[in-house]
């Protein structure tokens, strides 16, 4: 029994090691995304629309497809994380997200999202 636990633990360790390497292996894919980012008085208003089916488990079952939805969205600008959201299947189809942060004109806003199985996608846009 103990051996089994040890074996499982080592598998888990290997799995995490593999996970740590994962970003290099599965490079983020660049996608088209509608992004609007406008600065006014030091505050950037950002609006992003991601094209995504956002299939919930229920919907997927009915359609005979696999559930797939965005699980995590981050935005970085000027080398800093400015938006960090963990999301669920209950965001709408083609989810629209709006947020504000302190930033400046000309910086590049990078939106990265992860979907259920771990694939990562990104898009960038200059702040106006």
């Amino acid at each position: 029994m103990k051996k089994l636990i040890l074996a499982l633990a080592s598998i888990a360790l290997m799995a995490t090691a593999a996970m740590a390497d994962a970003p290099a292996a599965a490079a983020p894919t660049k996608v088209k995304m509608k992004i609007k980012a406008k600065e006014k008085d030091g505050v950037v208003k950002a609006k992003i629309a991601i094209s995504h089916n956002m299939l919930t488990y229920d919907q997927a079952k009915k359609k005979g497809k696999e559930a797939n939805f965005i699980t995590h969205v981050t935005a970085t600008a000027g080398g800093k994380v400015v938006y960090d959201a963990s999301t669920s299947q209950f965001l709408s189809k083609n989810p629209l997200l709006k947020f504000k942060f302190n930033g400046k004109k000309g910086d590049e806003l990078k939106i990265t999202y992860t979907q259920l199985k771990g694939e990562v996608f990104f898009a960038t846009k200059k702040i106006k």
Partner: protein, 156 residues
């Protein structure tokens, strides 16, 4: 078996950078907390259980949170919801009681961002949206909003 899962979760949490927090990896239980129905009517039990799974056994107090959503949503597939607060916040979570599971999204309020978020969500039927703000003072603040959904959004 349980131990290995636990260590896996702990390690996964450790590998996350300090800036970005993946609440899915950190609090997996919160995302699978089911809503509780009393017959067909949604109850608050599921939402409360999800809050406890995410933030621990703390009872939220009413706080100054501006939660906005239409009173009657014609399309349950895309309901605009916005949360805004002046409370110095660590994170903001949005729950509802109309879908199979309670938790919709958790925003990590990073330094240099403004606690003002909008998104579009799905709701299967009429219900209540709950927004919870985890303050920097360690307290939980919450506010609720009931709305009617004319056409459910989860049937696809």
């Amino acid at each position: 078996m349980k131990k290995s899962i636990l260590s896996l979760v702990a390690l996964a949490a450790l590998t996350m950078s300090a800036n970005a927090t993946d609440f899915r990896a950190e609090k997996p239980a919160a995302w699978t907390t089911k809503n509780v129905y009393n017959g067909e009517t949604p109850t608050e039990k599921g939402v409360q259980a999800a809050i406890n799974a995410l933030y621990g056994d703390v009872a939220p107090i009413d706080g100054d949170i501006k939660l906005k959503a239409p009173k009657v949503a014609s399309n349950g597939g895309a309901i605009p919801v916005s949360v805004k607060t002046d409370i110095p916040a660590k994170s903001i979570a949005v729950f509802q009681d109309a879908n199979p599971e309670a938790l919709v999204a958790v925003f990590n309020v990073v330094d240099g961002s403004v606690a003002d978020y909008s998104m579009k969500i799905k709701m299967k039927k009429s219900g209540t949206i709950t927004a919870v703000v985890e303050g920097k003072d360690g307290k939980l603040y919450s506010t609720k909003l009931s709305l009617e959904v004319a056409l459910g959004g989860c049937e696809g």
